[in-house]
């Protein structure tokens, strides 16, 4: 196991470098840069403006130099540099924003499990009955209906009908109820899709276990159905969940980008969306690297946990 962990950890930097190259190349392949936006959006098409800004932002430099300077700063000093459009130090901005995104992420994972596991369990236990069909229908709906659409409805309809907002403007923990209110709604909406996935996985793995010999034996011993389910079905069925939960972490990051924009939450997502519009390569690259690092570490943890939960798995 130790050797496996070391091998996986050694792979992380190589993967990150590969990701950094891809994001760097793709960002430069898109037409327009920060100088275009800064000089052109206001309607001033003077070449002089472009030249000054490009020089100031280092965009006139050779692309290889730009890449290695950027990568060198990250590797040697852990410095993501300065944003091209907002001129802010990216490390500081990440520090201010990442916790906001993480809070939505963690809360949505919690909601995902709270929705997905009970729904999957009930659905499996009552398999083939109307409640199973209803729950499966809801799970598929949660998966299929885009979260940004639900979020837009949640934002707009209470305002139109009652003149109230379900999610007020952003405030920190100094106003705990409001803060939780702001976080909970987007987290719940993100969780609808994840909950649907988890419910389906839990249902299918529980059904598999329900048909196994051990369950038949447990029932034959005269155990109550609730005891059978909780002791002999639930725990073995949860192994499959670990992989899915790991994937949910990455989906949550993607989902938070849209949610932060709709609910105006000052996290990484809202930041990267504005950076895309402003062609702020530095922010986009930094956020992609941070998200990629997060994803790689989570998947590593999930793999380790997987082996720990299921003794049959050996690396």
């Amino acid at each position: 196991m130790q050797a496996y962990i070391i091998r996986r950890l050694l792979l992380v930097p190589f993967t990150l470098v590969l990701i950094s190259i891809i994001v760097f190349i793709f960002m430069r392949a898109v037409p327009g840069d920060a100088a275009d936006v800064r000089c052109g959006a206001a309607g001033n098409f003077d070449q002089q403006c472009f030249d000054v800004v490009r020089e100031e932002l280092g965009l006139n430099e050779n692309k290889f130099n730009q890449y290695f300077k950027w990568l060198g700063d990250i590797v040697l000093r852990g410095d993501f540099g300065y944003s091209l459009s907002q001129r802010a130090h990216i490390n500081e901005e990440i520090g201010k924003r990442i916790w906001n995104t993480a809070q939505i992420g963690l809360l949505s994972i919690a909601f995902t499990l709270l929705i997905g596991i009970p729904v999957g369990m009930v659905s499996a236990v009552r398999s083939g009955k109307p409640s199973d069909y209803i729950l499966r229908f809801l799970a598929v709906m949660g998966l299929s209906v885009p979260s940004f659409w639900i979020a837009t409805l949640v934002v707009i309809f209470p305002a139109v009908w009652w003149g109230v907002r379900v999610a007020p403007d952003w405030v920190g923990w100094e106003e705990p109820l409001t803060h939780l209110q702001i976080l909970a709604i987007p987290a719940f909406i993100i969780a609808l899709a994840g909950g649907g996935t988890i419910a389906r996985i839990v249902r299918s793995s529980m059904l598999e276990v329900l048909r196994s010999d051990q369950v038949r034996t447990a029932r034959a011993k005269g155990l109550r159905e609730s005891a059978v389910v909780s002791r002999h079905v639930f725990r073995p069925s949860m192994i499959a969940l670990f992989t899915i939960i790991g994937l949910q972490f990455s989906l949550v990051l993607g989902g938070s980008v849209i949610m932060e924009s709709i609910f105006n939450i000052p996290g990484m997502g809202l930041w990267v969306i504005s950076a895309v519009g402003e062609r702020d390569f530095m922010i986009i690259q930094a956020v992609v690297v941070v998200f990629a690092t997060w994803f790689l570490l989570i998947t590593l943890l999930v793999d380790i946990a997987y082996a720990w939960v299921d003794p049959r798995i050996r690396y």
Binding site: P31, V52, I134, I156
Partner: protein, 643 residues
């Protein structure tokens, strides 16, 4: 000032929890909401009710709904009566509130809650003009300008005179001071104005300023005979100098603050003496402003700039990028204004909001401007094809479809300026004639010149319907395939401004987002070679970028561009109004008849803005718009009825 989360306007102990029960919800809203909730519950019941027992035949879901509907129908007369009564009561209450407000008169206090869709890219008025709301409220300018009255009003200037065509002398208001955080709140002098204006060219050259050079290139020098007299010497007698001095970019800054920050104010606020000053800047883009205690008294400007009450105590400005959230904030009373992409809201949204509780829609004539730019290099050698293109577009149909019938024909001069051609003449000059279009296209060999059809940019953030309509019109009437390339803002700008020969588009709609002040550059600059015409490829040999472009390329467009530029230059130094109008008419006719290389596009006839009813005394459109000169942010005589 460092970034911080905003401060709430209430005390934690009382206000935070108090707001949960303080919010008032009208009976009408409760009824509407309850009806919606009941319908939703009925739906859920219809879908979700049932037994887990498979043997029992489930009741068809549809049966529940008609039953509910029948019940609702039975109750309808009562509810209708109740709703009518509620509406009557609401109207009565609104009338009563308005009467009360009128009776008690204007009052001071309160916080105006604004919202904006774009983040500012800096805080230096000589550099940044995107997201410039802060510049309007925190800085003084020499003048303000009203489009409605076509007249300049004094801001920092108390009076002014023009002793000769090259000089304007301003007498400053007494007691002008910077805010307490700028230069210790010392008095503002004429030297400060000279410093502020003198840094504009340097900022443009060295700091990549976004300010249009036309706004300062007419300035030759300044004299400051005493602290309250400022004389502006002009390089040429520019007819638009006075309204230009009202522009937001021409703000008066404290020199010592600029110098202390390395020669720019990019990250520095509170360097002026405007009516308000920054209180905080939040991570979420939430800015708040408080009244500047040093703000000067004004003896002119008809109350628009005022030190004396009534005035609003402060502003909050939230950065809201999502339009649904912006609307929800507005409807919930968390914002006093609902902004659209380019300032106002469209007619459909205005209609939807009209009559909602607490919403006031103000309407007035617009002064906006929209052009269809052609890549001059591609079209300059083919006059017949340009003409064919213009004739193939159903311009009146554009008004019907894109502006729902509420539009006017566009011209190269803003529609509210007296120099614009009449609608009848524009219709004569810009005709939809599909037969002639097809004939000209064939005679000019259009299919051979453009064998792959035409390409346009479909900006995803503005004018989508307009681009689609024009593309369809060209396809139908010329039989040419038009490819629409969806682009975001950055791609749009970089594609539009690509060097000659590198433009991927044949034509594109270009929005005028800053038209509020000057008839001869905000609109006309899209047509002249030394303005955006050059950016669209209409170069002449006198163009500053000419050395970068092969002369043979410029030869293609020079003969078309030169007469346009000459006429433009002539009108810009003609002070006799009649003579100038005649020149501007001549220029507009030239642009219409040579079809190169920018076509004016119809615009909406009216613009709408949604405000909360508590906002009183807001300027009407077209003065309302938040740009250039006298937008609502500089109307300090606004007040809030519930203050």
């Amino acid at each position: 000032m460092t970034a911080s989360y905003r401060k709430k306007g209430y005390e934690m102990a009382e206000g935070y929890w108090g707001k949960y029960w303080r919010r008032r919800v009208s009976r009408r809203r409760i009824l509407a909401g309850s009806a919606a909730a009941a319908a939703g519950a009925a739906g859920l019941v219809a879908v979700g009710c049932g037994d887990d027992d498979d043997d029992e035949e489930p009741e068809p879901a549809a049966t529940a709904a008609p039953t509910e509907a029948a019940a609702a129908t039975e109750a309808a007369p009562d509810e209708a009566a109740t709703e009518a009564a509620t509406e009557a009561a609401a109207t009565e209450a609104a009338t009563e509130a308005a009467t009360q407000a009128a009776a008690t008169g204007p009052r001071s206090g309160g916080t105006f809650k604004a919202q904006r869709a774009f983040a500012e890219t800096g805080y230096d008025p000589a550099i940044t003009i995107t997201g410039y709301q802060w510049a309007a409220v925190t800085y003084n300018h020499l003048l303000g300008y009203s489009l409605i009255e076509d007249e300049a009003w004094g801001d920092a200037a108390q009076s002014w005179e023009q002793p000769d065509p090259f000089t304007i002398v301003f007498n400053l208001e007494p007691n002008l001071r910077f805010n307490p955080e700028a230069a210790g709140g010392r008095p503002i002098t004429s030297q400060d104005i000279a410093y502020s204006y003198a840094r504009l060219p340097a900022a443009f050259t060295n700091l990549a300023s976004e300010v249009n050079p036309m706004q300062f290139s007419f300035m030759a020098g300044f004299d400051t005979p005493d602290e309250s007299t400022f004389a502006l010497n002009m390089a040429y007698p520019w007819v638009s100098a006075i309204p230009t001095l009202a522009s937001t970019s021409l703000a008066i800054v404290a020199p010592e603050v600029v110098e202390a920050n390395g020669g720019n104010l990019t990250d520095t606020v509170n360097a002026g003496g405007g009516a308000y000053m920054f209180e905080s800047r939040g991570l979420d883009g939430f800015n708040s402003y408080v009244r500047n205690p040093n703000y000067a008294g004004h003896t002119t400007a008809r109350g628009r700039f005022t030190k004396d009450p009534p005035y609003i105590d402060g502003w909050e400005d939230a950065l809201i990028t999502d339009s649904a959230t912006a609307e929800a904030r507005f409807l919930a009373g968390d914002s006093d204004i609902l902004t659209g992409v380019v300032g106002g809201i469209d007619a459909i949204k205005a209609e939807e909001l009209r009559g909602q509780d607490g919403v006031n829609i103000i309407t007035g004539p617009t002064n906006t401007h929209l052009v269809m730019a052609l890549d001059a290099l591609k079209w300059a050698r083919f006059p017949q094809l340009r003409e064919a293109l213009s004739h193939s577009i159903d311009w009146d149909g554009y008004i019907d479809i894109v502006h729902d019938g509420d539009g006017i024909r566009g011209a190269p001069v803003g529609p509210r300026f007296p120099q614009v051609l009449s609608q009848d003449e524009i219709r004569q000059l810009q005709q939809f004639d599909p037969e002639r279009a097809r004939q000209l296209w064939e005679q000019g060999g259009g299919d051979q010149v453009f064998p792959d059809g035409l390409t346009t940019l479909l900006a995803t953030f503005a004018n989508t319907r307009g681009t689609e309509f024009i593309s369809q019109s060209i396809e139908e009437n010329l039989g040419v395939e038009v490819t629409m390339m969806p682009v975001d803002l950055a791609t749009y700008v970089s594609s539009l401004t690509a060097p000659p020969g590198s433009k991927i588009w044949h034509f594109a709609l270009v929005t005028e987002n800053t038209l509020s002040t000057i008839p001869d550059y905000n609109a006309l600059t899209h047509y002249v070679p030394l303005g955006y015409g050059g950016a669209f490829g209409l170069f002449i040999h006198e163009h500053p970028q000419a050395p970068l472009i092969p002369p043979e390329v410029i030869d293609i467009t020079h003969d078309i561009g030169k007469p346009i530029q000459d006429l433009y230059n002539a009108q810009s130094v003609t002070h006799d109004p009649e003579q100038r109008t005649a020149l501007l008419h001549q220029l507009q006719r030239l642009l219409f008849t040579q079809f190169c290389c920018t076509f004016p596009v119809p615009v909406e006839a009216t613009e709408q803005h949604a405000l909360r009813t508590r906002v009183q005394n807001a300027p009407l459109p077209p003065d309302f718009r938040d740009n250039g000169s006298m937008g609502y942010r500089r109307a300090q005589n606004m007040w809030l009825s519930d203050a």
